[in-house]
Structure formats: structure tokens, C-alpha cells
């Protein structure tokens, strides 16, 4: 592995070398119990530079950004801002220096207006009307249209991100940090965001752009630092590198490929949703509106959409965690199951992998054998109300072996596994149940590339044995890789079915914004 310094020498800096870097990190280290999040990380960013920090989930990117912002403290190393070392750091120091950060998960208060949210980050006295005008000015200048008086709970995720960015821009930042900003955006919104960022950079603001998406980094960034397991594995000029080069630095190996064989589908749908309409029972939830969905045996069907458009509500109705009080709306193998709970639906051949692994898909402090039993108890693990521990252990061991779960054994606690390994275990458990229908939400969220490919292949293989597989995901690439058919969900409405071969990212992206829908819903809400 080439060291950071060697690469630095090979690559002359793209920007003028006589300038003082906006920010310089020297030998940053941060250790957590059992893991080194950042190991001797050094990098520098020039004024007006858009610098990417690339890496897979868990590579240490977010930790590094939080160290820069002062939200957490490094164990070792130093930081120099505009040539001056930062002695004692913290978020307030950051703000004073002009460092602003847009988090992956926004910190906005739902029940108050945009301008009131922004007012919370203003120190000293302020006038709400003046502030609202400034918000309007800034948002106009940078092409981030937002009404300062709207309530946050009314805003789409994209709009919320705009609020966060506007909030940062109002402070006239010298360095803006964005943590995976596009994971919640439609393809169209991503293009708009990039325009804004380029405008900012042209004004001299440095931007640190954290991502694991190669294509975006190649389009946007001047330079990139690649992290893997907390270490710098390389630096690059993304516009001059190939995706394969970048991927190799990120993953440490070539990307595995998925094989999608042609499917033969069943005659009748295994899972059918017939005009499901369900008003939300809380003001921040999404109401489902006339959802029509069918999944046949032998195929993989995807539901695309930006999170928070009704996926969670739909999944709960499908899994039986929330019951639906209407006849013949949700059928499983032709049987009306709307009012039957999750346990009963599992008896009928349903399996389900939720988005939340710890606490929903698995019990965090319980060992893997117990977690295998969570849904696997149907496979003869209970006799006369007593647990057959041997069988549970065997089942857990079988999942660990077949699905390559890296662990010390079935006695390990679920919360001791990495995200990817736990996901493999849960997916393995549900597949080993031999389901007729498998519903899986965000199958590879936070999972490393190798494990993700493995999981995707396992899903395809399951469908090819005749099962119906329904994937709900935010990652369009993933859905295009594994699905036979696609639906798009937006504001609680499900699009018509799209054949993967006859659609493309643009069409799906438009549907994600709701622009292609026949309904007259408020389009601005969906972006």
C-alpha cells in the first residue's frame, strides 16, 4: 500500500502551491474501543477547493468530519486553520472560524418554522422579520428556494437539507462540510445541489464533501482523499481517475459482479396489495394513498423512493407489525392477512428484513443463537413450550457458515457484530426460513461493498428458486442491478409498475419527485 506522502509527491497540487491551505490536518488519530476510526490521517484543503473524502461505510469519514467540526476530540494530531493551529476545539470555535457542517441526519425541530429553526443557531439578538428576509435572499442567491415561514414537518427531505445548507450559508462559511448529502435526494435534486456547491466554491469557500458514491465525486470534486478502515489509502484527482481506480482504493479489491438470470414468474401474485389507503395517525407520518402492488413468485421487485415518502408505513402494513382494518386489501398467497399479526403472516410464508437491524431485526444484547430463534423458532426449535437449544445453535451455525458471517460463533452478541455481518446474518436467517415472500428494506445500507454484492446475489438466487422478493431501497443503482420490475413511491403514492429493461434512472428520478404522477399533489413537497 503506497503511503500518503509518496502519493503527495507524485501528484502536484491542482491549486496554486503558494497559497496558505484553508485547513490542514496533521496525523489525526481517534480510537474507539476495539476499533481505530482514524489512524494517522493528514490532509489539506485550499480555499475554493472542493475536496472529497471517499470511503465505504465505516471507513472513518464521519468521525474525521466530526473531529474537524469539533464535535468529537481527536486522541492525537493537530489542526491548522488558515495557518493558525487550533488549540482547543469545539463546535463554537468552529463557528467562530467559519466552519459549518451539514449533517447526514438533520437536526431540525419539526414543529416550528424554517426561520425559527435558523434563528436557533444565531447568537445574540435578532429580529425574526429581518432574519426571514435574509433567509430569502441567501436562498435566492444560491438557487435554494425555500419559504422561511413554512413549518419543517411540511418539508420534504430535500427541502430540509436546503434549510440546513441555508443555515450554514447565513454564517458566510469559509469551510463547508457535507456528510453524504445526496443519500436523501432525487437525481434531479443532486444536480441542483452541485450547482450551488460550485457557486460557493467559486466564491472562495472550501468544501469537504463526504461520500461513498464515485460518480458524484468524479463530477463534483477537484481532489479526493480515500479512507479505508481509518487509514488513508490514497489521494486522487477524481476527474482524471477511472471509477475502477477509485473503487480499488476504496474497497481494496475489484468490485464483485452480480448475475441476474432471466426469471420465470408464478401465475398468481404471492403478495398482493389492493387499493391500500391509510391516513397517517401522526402529523409527521405519511398517509398511504391507493397503493396497488403485486409481487409474483420468481421475481425481484423493487420500490424506489426517497426515505420518508411512506416506505416505513407501507412496510409495517405488509409485515403485519401494524394491522390494516380492511378486508381483502393485503393478501398473501391469495389469503387475506390484513388483520393478522406478524407471527401469523410468517406462518403463511412471509419473511422480512427490516431497515433497523439492531432492535428490530435482531435483539442487540442477545447472542446469535437466540437471534436465530427470533423468527427461526418455527423450524422445530420449540417443543412442548421448551426451547430446543441444540437446534437453535445448529440453525445459527448454519446461517453463519452459509452466509459468511464473520463472528466468533453463535454465542456472540448481536451488537458485537459489524453492521454488514449482522445484516448478512439477518438476511441469512430470513432466507433459510424458506419463505414464499421476502420483504427486505434497505438491504445494503451501511454494508461494505463485498457484503452488499453477496446479499444482492442471495436475493436474486432466492427469487430464482421461486420465491417472491420485494426490495425497498434508496439506492437506485442497487435496484437497477437486481430488480426485474420497479415501483416508485412518492408522498404515499405508488407509481405504476415499471419493467427494468424499459425504464431508466431519469424516469425513475422524475417519479421520485412526483412530477410524473397524474395526481395534482404539491410537487414542491416531494423534492
Amino acid at each position: 500500500m503506497p503511503s500518503f506522502r509518496e502519493i503527495q509527491e507524485e501528484l502536484p497540487n491542482v491549486l496554486e502551491t503558494n497559497m496558505t491551505p484553508r485547513l490542514e490536518l496533521r496525523h489525526i488519530c481517534k480510537r474507539y474501543p476495539g476499533v481505530i476510526a482514524n489512524d494517522d490521517v493528514s490532509l489539506s484543503i485550499m480555499p475554493g477547493e472542493i475536496h472529497a473524502v471517499l470511503g465505504e461505510n465505516g471507513a472513518g469519514k464521519s468521525t474525521l468530519m466530526k473531529i474537524i467540526y469539533g464535535a468529537i476530540r481527536a486522541d492525537e494530531g493537530e489542526m491548522v486553520f488558515d495557518g493558525n493551529p487550533i488549540a482547543s476545539h469545539g463546535p463554537s470555535v468552529s463557528r467562530a472560524l467559519g466552519i459549518e457542517m451539514v449533517y447526514q441526519h438533520f437536526a431540525l425541530f419539526e414543529s416550528v418554522s424554517v426561520v425559527e429553526n435558523i434563528a436557533l443557531s444565531v447568537s445574540g439578538k435578532f429580529d425574526l422579520t429581518v432574519l426571514a428576509n435574509r433567509v430569502r435572499d441567501v436562498s435566492k442567491k444560491y438557487g435554494l428556494p425555500i419559504d422561511p415561514h413554512r413549518f419543517v414537518y411540511n418539508l420534504s427531505v430535500g427541502e430540509r437539507q436546503r434549510v440546513e445548507i441555508v443555515r450554514c450559508l447565513m454564517q458566510k462559511p469559509k469551510l463547508l462540510i457535507l456528510d453524504e448529502p445526496t443519500s436523501v435526494l432525487t437525481p434531479q435534486a443532486v444536480i441542483k445541489l452541485f450547482e450551488t456547491l460550485r457557486q460557493l466554491a467559486a466564491e472562495g469557500c472550501s468544501i469537504l464533501y463526504i461520500s461513498h458514491k464515485l460518480d458524484e465525486v468524479q463530477v463534483l470534486c477537484d481532489s479526493a482523499t480515500v479512507l479505508r478502515n481509518g487509514l488513508i489509502t490514497g489521494t486522487a484527482k477524481p476527474k482524471q481517475s477511472t471509477p475502477i481506480e477509485l473503487a480499488r482504493m476504496m474497497v481494496g479489491a475489484d468490485l464483485p459482479e452480480t448475475h441476474l438470470d432471466p426469471s420465470t414468474t408464478s401465475d398468481t401474485p404471492f403478495l398482493n396489495v389492493n387499493h391500500l389507503t391509510a391516513p397517517s395517525d401522526n402529523p409527521f407520518g405519511i398517509s398511504l394513498n391507493d397503493v396497488l402492488l403485486s409481487v409474483f413468485g420468481g421475481e425481484v421487485v423493487g420500490i424506489a423512493g426517497v426515505s420518508g415518502n411512506g416506505q416505513a408505513e407501507l412496510i409495517s402494513f405488509l409485515s403485519g407489525e401494524v394491522l390494516f382494518k380492511g378486508a381483502d386489501t393485503i393478501t398473501l398467497g391469495g389469503k387475506d392477512v390484513g388483520q393478522l399479526d406478524a407471527g401469523y403472516r410468517r406462518e403463511q410464508g412471509l419473511a422480512f428484513v427490516p431497515e433497523e437491524r439492531l432492535g428490530r431485526g435482531a435483539v442487540p444484547p442477545h447472542h446469535l443463537s437466540d437471534n436465530a430463534m427470533l423468527t427461526g423458532h418455527r423450524l422445530g426449535m420449540v417443543k412442548n413450550w421448551m426451547i430446543q437449544r441444540g437446534k437453535a445453535n445448529d440453525f445459527a451455525a448454519q446461517i453463519i457458515r452459509k452466509f459468511n458471517v464473520k463472528t466468533t460463533g453463535y454465542e456472540s452478541a448481536a451488537n458485537s457484530l459489524s453492521g454488514g455481518n449482522l445484516q448478512k446474518f439477518i438476511v441469512g436467517r430470513e432466507i433459510e426460513l424458506g419463505p414464499k415472500v421476502l420483504i427486505i428494506s434497505q438491504p445494503t445500507w451501511g454494508v461494505d461493498v463485498g457484503a452488499a454484492a453477496f446479499i444482492r446475489q442471495a436475493l436474486i438466487d432466492l427469487s430464482r428458486t421461486g420465491a417472491a422478493v420485494l426490495i425497498i431501497s434508496e439506492e437506485l443503482d442497487e435496484l437497477f442491478e437486481v430488480c426485474d420490475r420497479l415501483y416508485v413511491i412518492c408522498q404515499g403514492q405508488l407509481s405504476k409498475s415499471l419493467d427494468r429493461k424499459n425504464t431508466n434512472v431519469e424516469e425513475v428520478g422524475l417519479l421520485m419527485t412526483g412530477l410524473n404522477n397524474n395526481s395534482n399533489s404539491d410537487n414542491s413537497k416531494a423534492v
Binding site: L358, P364, L374
Partner: protein, 360 residues
Amino acid sequence: MRFQIERRAEPSSFMRFGAPVYATFSTLVVSSIMFALLGHNPADTLFAFFITPLMTINGISEWLLKASPLILIGCGLAIGFRANVWNIGAEGQLVIGAVCASGVGLFYPAPESTLLLPLMVIAGMAGGMVWAAIPAFLRARMNTNEILVTLMMTYIATLLLSLLVHGPWRDPDGYNYPQTALLPDAAMFELFDPMYRLNTSILITVVAVFAMWFFTERSFFGYKMSVGGAAPLAARYAGFKQSRSIWVGLLISGGLAGIAGMAEAAGPLGQLSAQISPGYGFAAIIVAFIGRLHAVGIVLGGLLLSLLYLGGEAVQLSLGLPSALTSIFQGMLLFFLLASDFLIFYRFTPSPKPTKGGVT
């Protein structure tokens, strides 16, 4: 050097066993200093506290007699606590159990019958269960907070007891003192030996401990309840019904507390009086947590707490220490014990050294 608290990646198995040792050691050191400062020989005091009470057969009999209800109630509570069902009102269920059982004992038409004692056990258990069923119903149906309801029900129970012993059930020959007549002989648990107070009700506790172990470690229902406690969303995900856990958690703990109350009336008390419980229902909460909600741990916890009571009396009797001092000592041991549990999941590490011009 400064220290910071850090979560362990994995719970330390060394500390899992080391924590009680750590706690005992800390208590011994701190209490020795305290006793020495107050002019008592630490070695003598600790000997009187922990060893003297257990040096006679009578002492051991008393030790088990007091530990038995604590363990019995603790087992029931732990089953609920594992499922996030917080029955804080075992004291009230104990009282109602004692009331129902004593009612049978006092008014059963055949006071000589050998059926009397079994009937009282059933009545005591049923009473405790009914008292716990009220909060169970309210939580399962109306999502009320069972912590509050069970606690409130305790006040109702003690006042109900007070009403009975001051009124209709008052011993006509008892000079108006708030207590009932003595229970008939057939209503009393047999003593193992007439010299000592330990009675056969401890066998119920022994059975309960094994049953509790079996239920929590081997039964599928116990497993389902522990899933509901550790991760409620996972229980819903798997299709385990929460309302069943609530009912079972409260009914078992209520029933066992009721039996414990019955065993007090039909054991060391022999009658019903206004103050039937020396706080066993509340102390058992401590026992359940010292025992980490595990059957073996609860037995040890109950024995420890019982020994602390006896030891407190022993140092008063043999060394003349004030009761306030022994209370401090008891509190200190429990504090160190629960505080040491923290070390299973967390550890102290030196704070990182601030480097020159560093980020820290």
C-alpha cells in the same frame, strides 16, 4: 492524570464475576475506615456483621426465613422486569395475599382441616394475582404506566388491610389493638424443628427458584418475554404479543408476592396485623437487580440482603453500634454492588494527553 469513562466494545466477562468482588473489597475498605474513625475495631465489626449471625443453627434458620420471601418475590419480579414490565407494587400484592389467606385461615368453617393450609396458599396467590391483574389490564388495554398503578395499588392495599384489622377482623379479645386473632394451628406452616422458626414455606421458594430458572432459560415463553424487554420492536417484528408478556409478568410476580404475604401470616406472624410486611415487596426489587434478574443471582441477592438485616442487628447487640451506622453500612454495600456493575460495560481510561497545539 485525568480519567474518562469509555464503553467497552464487549461486556467484560472478567468484570462480570469480578464486580461483586470489587464491590465487597471497596465496601470493606471504606467501611473499615468509617468504623475505625468512629472508634470501633473494623475487624470485630465486620466479623459481627457477616459471621456472627451465621454461627448458630438458629442464626441460619433466621437467615433463611428472612431470605425466603425476598427470593420468592424477587423471582417473580425479575420475570416481569426482563420483559420491561415494571411491577413496583409487590408490597401491595403481598399485603393482599396475606389478607386473602388470613381470611381463609380465620373464617374457614373447618379450622382443623388439613386442606386449610393449601387453601390459604391458593387464596394468597389468587389475591396477589388479582391485585396485579388490575394494573395488567390497565396497561394492556389502556397503556397506562404500570409503575404508577402498581405503586398506587400498594397504598390501597395497605389501607384496606388497615381497615380490616381496625374493623371487622379485629381480634375481639385483642384490646382494640389492630390485629386479628391468631390463626388456627392447621393454618400454620409446619416448623422443621420447634426450636427454630424456619418453616416449610421455604420449600415453595425453592420450587419457585427452579421454576423461574426453567421459565427464563428454557421456556419459549420466557424467551419471548426477554425479547420484548430487550427490544420491543423486535418482539413486534417477530409477532410476539406484548400484552401477553404484560399479563404473565404481572400475574406471576403478583402471585408469588401473594404467596410470600401468605407465608408471613402463616409463618412467623401467625396473625394479621396492620404492619404485616417489613418492606419485603420493595426490598425484593433490590434483590432482583442485585441478582441481575437471574435465578441464581436472586438467591444470592436475597441471602445477602437478609444477612445485611441480621448483621445490622448483630452489631447492635454485640457491639452496641447505633442502628443508623449499620444502615449506612448496608447502603454502602448495595451502592458499591450496583456501581460495580457499571464496570462490566464501561471502563476508565486515562484521558488523552493534550498535545502542543493539538486538537484536544
